[in-house]
């Protein structure tokens, strides 16, 4: 807990003075206002009891001046507090966001994007709220509570002891209830989640429920679960009502002071103003005891959010180069003298995902001459996509070598290594913003000014995208929605292809989309894809017969291994070949889909 606090305080550091001034200011002001109120009431009482009109006017004037002065202090500390908080929030968000960009891809596999997003939103808010609300409430509570207690003790230490005693008693009374309440709340959360799980099955399995006549079966479960939830809810809320009723009991303090003080004041009316002041100050003491547990519970809860946030922020960034020797010492071997091979050279490449012993790639070897096209074919899960990811340097291999044009992946800065590739994934990657902006992303860090209109339009023509873009209202400045959802599937793919044309990298990694397009857009996209492959060293994960037929070589993969290789014709001639049986089973699509 201390360590978590420490790690979150680094974001406060540049603004510590501002923040502490603000928080302490808030505490002091809140106590001051409470104390004024007390003494104004006391003065008021004595002026009335003594029928002293001048004192009355003096009291009101004093109050106005004090309140105005407080207002000025409040303004100063408020500004200090608010601006330091906003800066902290900005810095935290920036640090988190940039960390998710620069960490290795493996981190994104470990944390699904929903998880990272919830940390970015929810946990970050919780962390900010720790500074914004929790610490501020804590300061106010402490200043008011301790300040009021001290003042009461100075005024009348016997009554001071009495008040603190009562508040402490009420607090002790609350402790066992609070513990039960926490458990009861957790149970309600659990049972509610249980009910929603059941209900979601009712929604997604509705057809099965009807067709198998399971309405009675599921209703019985719903009935029992809602019964459990009801009981848990009633228990939780009853405890909550008890807690609130007990907290109200601090009012006993006021009553008892009125009674004790009242008896004294009947003897000696001049003590009445002091009693009135103490009654007012008692509120501050009561707040200290009734609020403390809630604030600490809140801080603990928010610290859990901080922990989740810091966990991601502390992940180290991706190194500049892939380490050699590869991660596991048993597989390590010196880098062999690489052949002066001009194209892409892969030898004995193996890979397993972190925390798994299963080899997703198992001693893969192949060579591709510049300008050649090769196709990778195999059942899903055979390692084709992983191969692409390892080639792109997303993951460090367990063993083996990759080199392009004689340069080893282990000896090249990752940024430069990746600049040699154009990766075309199955789903077009587009982001919100203009088409132009999306195309600028073809270049390293999207350096602006790089992209002349001419060059952009030429690329779009090659990708069969120019015509439809020109038909859009604002042409290349047409603004895409998130994920490019205001374009059709074929249009999205063609914009992504335009970007690939602009990139002009020597190697193309193409993960062919399984068709989701109508045949006309399919044809237009296919045409652009073939054009893109021209003159490039192209590796294609193929789902189409037409694609594999064009390839110089086909690698058939299963279980992370290349088990057959050759041209389409030669592989079809293997009488019990795996590739052949896959083709015969109709696993590869015709260009014109049957629908």
């Amino acid at each position: 807990m201390i360590r978590t606090l420490k790690s979150i305080f680094r974001f406060l550091k540049p603004y510590t003075v501002q923040y502490i001034f603000g928080v302490i200011g808030m505490g002091v002001i809140n106590f001051a206002l409470l104390a004024y109120m007390a003494f104004v009431l006391a003065d008021l009482t004595s002026s009335i009891v003594e029928l002293d009109q001048a004192l009355l006017i003096q009291t009101i004037l004093n109050a106005i001046i004090l309140i105005a002065l407080t207002g000025i202090l409040l303004w100063f500390s408020g500004i200090a507090l608010v601006s330091s908080l906003i800066k902290v929030e900005r810095d935290m968000r920036k640090a988190f966001f940039s960390r998710t960009l620069f960490v290795p891809l493996a981190v994104h596999h470990k944390y699904p994007s929903g998880e990272l997003l919830s940390r970015f939103n929810h946990d970050l808010n919780e962390s900010v709220a720790l500074f914004k609300n929790s610490f501020q409430s804590l300061a106010i509570m402490l200043f008011q509570g301790i300040g009021s207690s001290i003042t009461i003790f100075i005024l009348d230490w016997v009554l001071g002891l009495w008040i603190v005693g009562i508040c402490f008693g009420v607090f002790l009374l609350n402790v066992p209830i609070l513990r039960r309440l926490r458990k009861a709340s957790q149970k309600v959360q659990r049972e509610k989640a249980g009910f929603l799980r059941l209900y979601s099955q009712l929604v997604s399995g509705q057809r099965i429920i009807r067709y198998f006549n399971l309405a009675g079966w599921i209703y019985e479960r719903v009935f029992l679960q809602s019964e459990t939830l009801k009981k848990a809810g009633i228990r939780r809320n009853t405890l909550e009502a008890m807690r609130e009723a007990f907290s109200e009991m601090t009012f006993l303090g006021i009553i008892s002071i009125m009674i004790i003080g009242g008896y004294r004041a009947i003897e000696d009316p001049t003590t009445l103003p002091t009693i009135i002041a103490i009654v007012q100050l008692q509120n501050g003491v009561a707040y200290l005891f009734s609020g403390a547990s809630a604030i600490f519970a809140e801080i603990t809860k928010r610290l859990a959010g901080v922990e989740r946030l810091v966990e991601v922020m502390d992940i180290p960034e991706e190194p500049d180069m892939i380490p050699f020797p590869p991660v596991s010492p048993e597989h390590s071997a010196p880098i062999p003298a690489l052949p002066s091979h001009k194209g892409l050279f892969v030898r004995n490449l193996s890979f397993a995902y972190p925390d798994s012993s299963r080899l997703v790639l198992n001693k893969i070897s192949f060579e591709i001459a510049p300008g050649e096209t090769v196709a990778f074919v195999g059942p899903s899960g055979s390692g084709k996509t992983t191969l692409f990811k390892v080639l792109l340097g997303f993951f460090a291999p367990l063993e083996g070598h990759v080199a392009y044009s004689g340069r080893s992946i282990y000896h090249t800065i990752l940024k430069e290594w990746r600049a040699q590739f154009t990766y075309v994934p199955q789903d077009a990657f587009l982001f919100s913003g203009s088409i132009r902006k999306n195309l600028e992303a073809a270049f390293e860090d999207g350096s602006e000014g790089h992209l002349s209109d001419n060059r952009m339009k030429n690329a779009a023509r090659l990708a069969n995208a120019h015509t439809f873009i020109e038909d859009l209202e604002s042409k290349y400045d047409f603004v895409l929605e998130e994920g490019g959802n205001n374009l059709s599937g074929g249009q999205r793919q063609r914009i992504a292809l335009t970007r690939s044309f602009l990139r002009e990298a020597p190697i193309l990694l193409l993960d062919e989309a399984t068709s989701a397009l109508d045949s006309e857009s399919e044809r237009v996209v296919q045409e652009a894809v073939s054009r893109l492959m021209e003159g490039k060293t192209a590796l294609v994960i193929a789902h189409r017969l037409s694609t594999v037929r064009q390839a110089n070589c086909i690698y058939y993969m299963e279980d992370g291994m290349i088990i057959e290789q050759g041209t389409h014709e030669s592989l079809m001639n293997l009488s019990d070949g795996r590739y052949r049986s896959m083709v015969i089973a109709g696993e590869l699509e015709e260009v014109v889909s049957q629908d």
């Binding site: 008021l44 009101i60 303004w75 966001f97 509705q206 939830l229 009801k230 990746r418 860090d445």
Partner: protein, 583 residues
């Protein structure tokens, strides 16, 4: 007007559903009313106490002490019971709604399920239900308590000194108007900052979903800069908002003192003049809070109540889901012809185009029949009609010896076992999942079915065996394994008619072949109707019906259709060409 009526909260439905539970809430409201009065009495007794002190009336003081302690005790008790009863009410109503809605949902028609998004059905039961419950539990009582306490306090104060009361009340509108004016720029900046935050969120989503491409294209700094642009906007707007809201807070805190200063000054003067007792002045100070409270909190509470009733309305709209008919007769299925379509035409409710257009065919006992054709050709519609999801507008569907419209749906579905494309398993153990094929199945049947579906060896290796949880949480099963469990469930059903709706089209070849083998090896008397996507595995079926745009394009045996050289033949040849090429 009618739209407005639709927007209203269905109070009568709610009260009817509440039954006797509504009196619990009535009691809670009654207690809250008592509580409001007690709070004012408490204020009055504090005034009495002060007065007796000033008058040095120790007898009256003692009396006031006793009364105030008992009043305090009574407020505590009524406070607790109001909350307790509200909890009883809201939790009981919650359970009632959950049950009624779940029951509706389990019987809802296919059409109703298509009209409602599953996400929408979920959010109504989670976030809308939460809002509604919170309102029943808290906000309703808060509102009633706030208003009645304010009214009782106001009457009390007016009775004791109308002049002072009116003077204090006069400050309140001024304060409210000033607050509204001051908060306007804050609202403007809040909206802008909210928009910036939305953009930031979009950047984050895109940076996460595009994690691979960003690395592949070295776009880290590009995306960071996009983010920083929105972040800078957010910072600028939030800073402005922050400054403005500090002013608002300062003003807000200062202004709350104004009515008190008025009471102190004017009230003190009146006391000195002898027109007011000092005790009543203290009662004023105490009770002023009760009047100011609703003015400050009312907008928030009303907002919550609005959200709560809207949530309740959306939740209770689920009760209007149309459900399937529950009556009907049990037909006999032991006929030579199991299913007969006579010139059936059908269009989905609210659709213009016919989904089925004059279809006639019959399926005999023991036949294996396949329906093929492009998507949207009507294959699935035929299945839905056989299941009784819809009735045709024209023509006649007969299952066994009984026309479709006369069947009781429960009995009709007892005659069929379905496997659909998306394998759905319940979030419970494997054994229970498979046994759900027939509610009265015995463990041996389940075991046999699982063995037939070739899942027994895999399950034996699981640490929890047959008790391993399936369903959404059981992510350890692949799509093929889940589908095989669904096939096992259908086998357990032991129904005369097996319906396979694209049951294998999402699976890889090996799994498809395994499942088809199970179907092929079924006993002769089982009738199987399949909808298929890939044609090559269909060579074994007895009869193929090719559909196109709601009509039967052609039908016959596989070989006959090939000979005919029509639509089926061209589809089939397109898929088989490579095989021919190779050999």
């Amino acid at each position: 007007m009618s739209k407005k009526e639709k927007q209203a909260f269905p109070t009568s439905v709610f009260l009817k559903m509440a039954g006797t539970v509504k009196y619990v809430m009535g009691l809670a409201v009654g207690i809250v009313l008592v509580y409001s009065v007690l709070k004012v009495v408490e204020g009055h007794m504090l005034a009495r106490l002060v007065d007796t002190i000033v008058q040095q009336d120790s007898h009256g003081f003692l009396q006031a002490t006793i009364v105030i302690i008992s009043v305090f005790g009574a407020t505590l008790i009524s406070f607790f019971f109001a909350k307790f009863l509200a909890a009883q009410f809201s939790e009981r109503m919650n359970a009632k709604l959950q049950r009624a809605i779940s029951k509706k949902l389990s019987q809802a028609t296919d059409h109703a399920m298509h009209q409602n998004h599953s996400g929408d059905l979920m959010s109504r039961m989670s976030s809308d239900a939460n809002l509604f419950q919170e309102m029943l539990q808290q906000d309703l009582l808060l509102l009633i308590n706030g208003i009645t306490t304010a009214i009782v306090a106001l009457i009390y104060l007016l009775y004791h000194n109308w002049f002072l009361t009116l003077m204090v009340l006069a400050c309140l509108p001024v304060i409210l108007i000033a607050a509204v004016i001051l908060s306007r720029p804050v609202e403007k900046y809040t909206t802008q900052a909210q928009k910036d935050l939305g953009e930031i969120n979009t950047h984050a989503k895109e940076a996460l979903s595009g994690a691979e491409m960003i690395r592949a294209f070295n776009l880290q700094s590009f995306f960071l800069n996009r983010f920083l642009g929105s972040e800078a906007n957010w910072f600028r707007h939030t800073m402005k908002k922050g400054r403005q809201s500090v002013i608002l807070v300062v003003f807000g805190i200062l202004i709350t003192f104004v009515p008190f200063l008025v009471v102190f000054g004017l009230g003190g003067y009146l006391v000195i003049q002898g027109q007011l007792t000092i005790g009543i002045l203290f009662a004023f100070i105490q009770l002023l809070n009760y009047i100011a409270f609703p003015l400050q909190e009312l907008p928030t509470i009303l907002g919550k109540i609005k959200a709560g009733t809207a949530g309740g309305r959306r939740l209770m709209e689920l009760l209007d889901l149309s459900v399937e008919k529950q009556e009907g007769k049990k037909g006999h299925i032991d006929q030579p012809v199991l299913v007969r379509f006579d010139n059936v035409s059908f269009r989905y409710p609210g659709q213009k185009e016919l989904a089925l257009d004059g279809i006639s065919f019959s399926i005999e006992r023991g036949e294996k029949v396949a329906f093929v054709g492009p998507s949207g050709c009507g294959k699935s519609t035929i299945f839905k009609l056989i299941q009784g999801d819809y009735l045709p507008q024209n023509g006649k569907v007969t299952v066994g010896d009984t026309p479709l419209e006369l069947w009781s749906l429960t009995d009709l579905r007892d005659q069929t076992a379905v496997v659909v494309q998306e394998p759905f398993l319940f979030d419970t153990g494997i054994e229970e999942n498979v046994s759900l094929g027939r509610i009265d199945s015995v463990p041996e049947e389940v075991k046999t079915a699982i063995a037939e579906a070739q899942m027994d060896r895999f399950i034996q290796e699981l640490p929890d065996g047959m008790q391993t949880r399936a369903g959404e949480l059981g992510a350890r099963f692949s799509g093929g394994q889940r589908q095989r469990l669904c096939v096992a469930r259908a086998m357990v059903r032991n129904a005369p008619l097996i319906l396979m709706d694209e049951a294998t089209s999402a699976l890889d070849n090996d799994t498809e072949a395994q499942i088809l083998r199970i179907i092929r090896e079924l006993p002769k008397e089982r009738t199987v109707v399949m909808i298929a996507h890939r044609l090559s595995p269909l060579t074994f079926v007895d009869w193929i019906v090719v559909l196109d745009q709601g009509r039967i394009a052609e039908q016959g045996k596989h070989d006959e259709l090939l000979e005919k050289n029509g639509r089926y033949a061209s589809l089939f040849r397109a898929q088989m060409m490579e095989e021919a090429d190779a050999s």
